[in-house]
């Protein structure tokens, strides 16, 4: 029975060969939406069926609520989010000159609360932070992703790319092993996908709630049996930043729906 294990080994080696070695050419990029079942797409495309819109609705109320020692609401400075927040989420994470670091949208919302409203910070993945994020991200729907154009961000993008391609965890896999090389395959029945963050914050049917890109990244890192970075750590922001530059020009879909 010697040939059988040999054949099995050959089949295994073949299965591990990368389908598409290297980076995905710009015109071959596909949003996660294109991998979804028609039923899931229908939920995403209908604002009265997309549960992410519940958060955007709550976010609209929070936007106009006066908070903190300043007694100011977001709207007191920024006016109607529908006008002032157009094209904001599509260029985050962005460079914060005061700290000299890139910040993502959640961190920007909390920095505004700290610096201008003198209000308590909102916890990562809390309802209120996701609601405000959903409201802001909603205003970029359909606009092309434009993060990482600030030259100050170049070293951070490079570090994010380094993390994307670094093998890690007990499974010794990098993000690129799946999302650059094997995106057209399946993992336990689910599409691997190219990993473009077009729709965050998004409603995952698996989560039964809205979640941030960092929550998704932590899930993936846990999946390769590595130790996930804490929310808001520079590593996750840099990875987020690299993913957004990798998806530059693709249309924003937030709040999207994913299986």
């Amino acid at each position: 029975m010697r040939p059988v294990p040999a054949m099995a080994t050959a089949a295994l080696l073949l299965a591990m060969l990368p389908g598409h070695a290297g980076e995905i050419p710009p015109d071959a990029r596909r949003s996660g939406t294109s991998f979804m079942a028609a039923e899931t797409r229908a939920i995403q495309d209908d604002d009265s069926a997309n549960p992410g819109m519940l958060w955007a609705l709550d976010g609209d109320e929070l936007w106009r609520r006066k908070v903190g020692a300043s007694g100011q609401s977001c709207a007191d400075c920024h006016g109607d989010a529908r006008d002032s927040m157009t094209g904001v989420a599509s260029r985050y994470p962005a460079f914060d000159r005061e700290t000299g670091q890139p910040v993502n949208l959640e961190q920007r919302i909390n920095l505004e609360r700290e610096r201008h409203q003198q209000a308590p910070l909102l916890a990562y993945e809390s309802h209120d932070l996701l609601a405000l994020e959903a409201l802001v991200a909603r205003q970029s729907r359909g606009l092309p992703i434009a993060s990482g154009t600030d030259p100050e961000l170049a070293p951070f993008v490079a570090r994010g790319r380094e993390l994307f391609t670094r093998r890690q965890g007990q499974l010794n896999l990098s993000c690129a092993n799946c999302h650059d090389d094997n995106w057209d395959k399946h993992l336990a029945g689910s599409a691997v996908t190219q990993g473009h963050p077009t729709g965050y914050p998004l409603y995952r049917l698996e989560w039964q709630t809205l979640g941030s890109l960092q929550r998704r990244l932590r899930g993936c890192i846990f999946g390769v049996r590595a130790q996930p970075y804490e929310f808001g750590t520079p590593e996750l922001v840099e990875l987020e930043l690299y993913l957004m530059t990798r998806a530059a020009g693709m249309a924003m879909e937030a709040p999207a729906v994913r299986p």
Binding site: D46, S48, A49, M53, L54, L205, Q208
Partner: protein, 105 residues
Amino acid sequence: MAALINVPPKAKRGDIIEIKTLMSHIMETGYRHTADGAVVPRDIITSFACRYNGSEIFRAELFPAIAANPFLSFFPIAADSGTFDFEWTGDNGFSATATAKITVE
């Protein structure tokens, strides 16, 4: 509690219309445990009803297997102009209402 209601603003008399409702709710099943073993108590919507100009046209009972943020759609016949009243009730005294108007020509 946030709710999203989609009722067509206008319809022809006798038309079958689609009403879509989405209610924000965690729908905690009561079967889950925390990391230290304590049961997470059940917290679900148990009932939904829709009244059209005062008379009930649709009612649903909801159970623990129904996903968070329940989405319900149904297809009444547009009979008269007026109001749809929606009501969700559930555990821990949960109660939410919404209304929508329709013009029937």
